[in-house]
Symmetry: C2
C-alpha cells in the first residue's frame, strides 16, 4: 500500500514514542499496538486464481450528508461454483490487504470444489486498496470517521445483495460468512446483524468477548505463558525472571552495550526508554510465537520452524542458579529463533515485530474507538511484568494520537456481549494454544451456536491449508465445519423451495 | 415545541409549494408529506402519572469524530413495578413528542399492574425535547445527519443498558419493546438488531414492508377505498367521481369561488396550483379517516364521531345522476365531518390535515433518506386520481429540499425486508381497516414471529385504551399480546435462573 506514507511514517514514529510511554502504564494499549488481531500470517501455497473487482460503496451507510462512494475491492473465484444456486463462501476481510487473506485462507480453497461454491473475499474498508478517501484516508480523525466495524458489515451486506442481484445464477445462492481473528469477529457479527444476508458464519479464533467486563483481562497472557510452560522445562519461569535481569543488566552503560550486542540490535539501547521499548518488543515476540505455534514449518513474517516455541524453549531451560547474563544470552538466542531462523537478518529491530505495515495504523484507530480490549498481567499467573489495565491512560493516549476517545461499552451494547443465545448458525472455532481464545467462545451456547476447540491449534489453524503435520484435532474441526456448512446450505435450499414463488 | 420556529415556518412554506409541484408528479411524496406515520391520535384518558428524565446520549453512535451528547427525554412509571426483576415495557418513541405517545398508549398503562411492569417511554431523537443540536437541530442537512432509525435504535439500546445497570432491581428485568406505526417498526427492528436488549416486541400497525419492491405500491390506497366502499352505498364511487367534478367546476372563476365558499375555505382558491393543493388535502382527509376509523368517539386532532367513515359516507350516497355541484356539496359536508364535527371551526385550512406540527419536518427528512415508501394510485382499484410511483421525481424533490437523496434499497438491506424468519419473539398486529396494514406483516412467519389481525380495527387500535365499544377482535388481540408477553417474561426468567451466576 502506497497510501499516506507520510502519515504512516509520522504515526509509526508516534507509536514508537507512544510505546515508551505506554509500557510504563498501559499494558493493554501496548498489546494492542503490537498484537494486531489477524495481522498474523498463514502459510502461503502457490498463488490461487481469482478475479479482482471493485464495487462502489457508500462512504457512510449511516448518514446521508456524506453521499460519496469509494471502490471496495473484492476477489472472486467461480471455478467450482455450481450455478444456479450454488453456495457462496464469503470472507469478511480483516484489517489488511485482502489478497493476503485470500492467498492464505487455504481452507476455503480446499473445500470450494466439494461444496460447488463460489469464493468471494471482500476487503475491509480503509485497508489494502479499499480506501474511502484514497491517499487522504488516514489524514485525520475526520477522514478516519467511517472506519468502524458497523460500516464494514454494511459494506459486506450491500456487496452481497448486489452480487445476488446481478450475477446470473446467484439470486438464491446461500451465503456463508468466513473469517479469522478480527475477520472472524466480523463473520459472527455479520450473521447476528444480517441473518437475512448470510445463512451462517464460521468465526475462527474470534475473540468476540475480549471486551470490558466480559473476560478476565489477564487470561490472554496466561495462555501465552502456558504455551511456554508446556513447551520446555523452566521456559516460562526463565522468561519471568528475564525482565528483572534486563533491568539489572541495563542499569549500567556497559550492560546496555552488552545487551545490544547480545541481541544483535540494529540500534543500540541508550537509555531507559529504549529499555522499555526493548522489553515491550520481547513481550510481543513471545505473544506472536504463541499465536503462530503451528505444528509445521511456516513462512510468515519470517520463516519459523515447526512448533517454534519448543525450539525457543531449548534456549531457556536454565535452572535457578543461572546468572542474569547467562539467562539473557538464552533469551537472545530464543528471540533469534523468531527473528532470524534462516540466519539472513543482519540485525534485530526493536520497533518491528510484524512485517506488514498494512493496517497497522487502521487497527490502532479501531482499538482506540470500538475495539477496546482490556489486557493485564500480574507476573504470577503469567510470565510478564505486572501491569494493570488502565482505561483512562489508554483513552488519553488515543486522544493524543487521534483526537478521539474510545467507547468502552459500545461493542458490548451493539454486538450483545455474552447475551447472544438468540442468534443461530455460528461456529466459533478456537485453538487451545492461541492466546486470543481467552476472549473467544469456547463452549456451546446452543445447538446452533457451537464451539469447536482445537486443543493443539494456534491462531485460526483451521483456516490454513491442510498439512501432513496437522494434528487430528484440526482435521476433525475442518470436517465438522464443512458438515455445518452443508446443513445450512441444505436448509436454505429447502426453505427456498418451500417459498411461494421467486 | 418552540424549537427552530423560523426553520419550521420556512419549511412549512416550502412544503406547501412543494406539494403543488408534487401532486402533479409524485403521489408517494405527497402521501408521505401528509400521511405522517404515527402522527395519528389516540384517544386520551385522564393524565397518567410518570416521572420525566433526561439521559445523555451520544449524538453519533456510529462514528467517533462527533463526540457530543444530547439530552434524550424519557418518561418512567414504576408504580406497579415488582422489583427486583419485574419486566419493563419500553415504548420505542415515534416521530413526535413522547408525552403524547405516553398519554395515549393506554394499553401499556392498563396492563402494567397485572404484569408488575415498569413503563418507560423513550423519545425519538430530533422530536419533542430530544434535540441533538437544540434550536439548530433542523437547521440544515449537516445538523440533520444523525436523524436515522439506526441512531434511534442505538439510543434505545444504550438507554436500556444504562437503566438496567443503574436502577436497583432492574438488572435482570426482561424488557419488551412496544410501539405503534413507525414506533412499531422500530420495536420490530429493535428486537431484530438488539435481541440481547429486548426479549420481544409488539409492533402494532408497523408497515415494515412498505418499502421498494416488497409490496404493491397501490395497496395502501386500495385499503382506504375499501373502507369507504363498505361504509356506505356509492361512497367510494362518488369520491372517485369527485376529482373530475373538482376539475370541471374549478375551470371557471365562478366555480373556484363556489368551491371556496361551499368548503368554507379559509383562503379562497385562486388558481390551478391552489386546486392541486385542495385535491391533495381532500385525498389526505380520506386517508386520515381510514386510519382513525375507530368504533367510538375519539378526540384527536379534532373530535370525531364513532365509525367516522360511516358518518362521512352519509353525505356521499348519490346515484349516478348527481351533478358535479351536488356531488361536491356532499363532499364538502363529508370533509366537515373530519374538520368541523363540533361546529367550532370558522373555516377549513387546506394546508393542514394534522394539528401536531411536531415531527412534521423530521418525518419528511426520514422519508427523504431511509423511509422510502412507494405509493401509487390507478383510479380503478382505488378511488383516487391515477398517479404512478416516481422515485426519481421523489429523489429530486428531496434533493431540492434537504440537499440529500433517499437510498431506496437501504432499509431492505439493513432490516432484512421479507427475509426475517430467523428472528423471534415479535408480534405484528394490524387492523383490517388501516391502510398501513398493506405494508405490514399480516400472516405468521414462524411460531414466534406472529401476526395478529384485527379485522375491524384501524391504525394501532390495540394500543389505545380499552373502550366499551371495542370490537371483540381487539379485545382478543390484546389478550393474546399479553399472553405472549407473559411467555417471553417467563422464558427470560427461566434462562436467568439457569445461568451460572449473576
Amino acid at each position: 500500500m502506497r497510501t499516506g506514507e507520510k502519515i504512516l511514517d509520522r504515526a509509526a514514529a508516534t507509536c514508537i514514542l507512544t510505546l515508551c510511554f505506554v509500557c510504563l502504564h498501559v499494558t493493554a494499549l501496548k498489546s494492542q499496538l503490537f498484537t494486531r488481531l489477524g495481522g498474523l500470517p498463514y502459510s502461503t501455497e502457490p498463488p490461487v486464481s481469482y478475479k479482482t473487482f471493485y464495487f462502489d460503496q457508500k462512504i457512510d451507510h449511516f448518514g446521508f450528508l456524506e453521499d460519496g462512494t469509494f471502490k471496495q475491492r473484492y476477489l472472486l473465484s467461480d471455478k467450482y461454483w455450481q450455478q444456479p444456486g450454488g453456495p457462496i463462501l464469503f470472507y469478511t476481510g480483516n484489517e489488511g490487504d485482502i489478497t493476503w487473506f485470500c492467498n492464505n485462507t487455504g481452507f476455503m480453497w480446499e473445500i470450494a470444489e466439494e461444496l460447488g461454491a463460489m469464493l468471494v473475499f471482500a476487503e475491509h474498508r480503509y485497508y489494502g486498496e479499499s480506501l474511502p478517501f484514497g491517499q487522504d484516508s488516514y489524514r485525520d480523525s475526520k477522514h478516519l470517521n467511517y472506519l468502524t466495524s458497523e460500516q464494514a458489515l454494511a459494506d459486506f451486506a450491500v456487496l452481497i445483495q448486489n452480487l445476488k442481484g446481478t450475477l446470473p445464477g446467484a439470486q438464491h445462492s446461500p451465503v456463508i460468512a468466513v473469517g479469522g481473528s478480527y475477520g472472524g469477529m466480523l463473520s459472527a457479527w455479520f450473521r447476528m446483524k444480517y441473518p437475512h444476508v448470510v445463512v451462517g458464519a464460521l468465526a475462527s479464533s474470534a475473540p468476540i468477548w475480549q471486551f470490558p467486563g466480559m473476560v478476565p483481562c489477564g487470561d490472554f497472557y496466561k495462555t501465552v505463558t502456558q504455551d511456554f510452560a508446556k513447551s520446555g522445562i523452566n521456559c516460562d519461569a526463565n522468561i519471568r525472571k528475564s525482565w528483572k535481569a534486563v533491568n539489572n543488566v541495563s542499569s549500567s552503560a556497559s550492560g546496555l552495550q552488552w545487551l545490544s550486542e547480545e541481541f544483535s540490535l540494529c540500534a543500540p539501547l541508550k537509555n531507559k526508554n529504549d529499555v522499555l521499548t526493548f522489553k515491550s518488543w520481547l513481550q510481543e515476540t513471545w505473544v506472536n510465537l504463541a499465536m503462530v505455534d503451528y505444528p509445521y514449518e511456516a513462512n510468515f513474517l519470517q520463516p519459523l520452524p515447526r512448533w517454534p516455541i519448543q525450539v525457543v524453549c531449548k534456549y531457556l531451560s536454565f535452572d535457578s542458579t543461572v546468572s542474569d547474563y547467562q539467562l539473557l544470552q538464552g533469551v537472545a538466542q530464543a528471540a533469534k529463533v523468531y527473528y532470524n531462523y534462516t540466519g539472513s537478518s543482519p540485525c534485530l529491530n526493536t520497533s518491528q515485530t510484524a512485517t506488514s505495515s498494512l493496517g497497522y495504523l487502521g487497527w490502532f484507530y479501531q482499538a482506540c474507538t470500538e475495539m477496546v480490549m482490556p489486557m493485564c498481567t500480574d507476573g504470577v499467573q503469567d510470565m510478564f511484568e505486572p501491569e494493570e489495565w488502565n482505561f483512562q491512560a489508554f483513552s488519553d493516549e488515543c486522544k493524543a494520537m487521534f483526537g478521539i476517545r474510545p467507547r468502552a461499552d459500545w461493542a458490548g451494547t451493539v454486538y450483545g456481549g455474552k447475551e447472544i443465545s438468540s442468534h443461530s448458525n455460528i461456529i466459533f472455532s478456537n485453538g487451545g494454544l492461541d492466546p486470543w481464545s481467552s476472549g473467544g467462545v469456547t463452549s456451546n451456547i446452543s445447538h446452533s451456536l457451537v464451539s469447536i476447540m482445537i486443543p493443539d491449534g494456534a491462531h485460526h489453524l483451521d483456516l490454513r491449508y491442510s498439512n501432513d503435520l496437522d494434528p487430528p484435532s484440526v482435521r476433525a474441526a475442518r470436517e465438522l465445519e464443512v458438515k455445518y456448512f452443508r446443513e445450512w446450505i441444505k436448509k436454505a435450499k429447502k426453505a427456498h423451495r418451500a417459498a411461494p414463488t421467486g
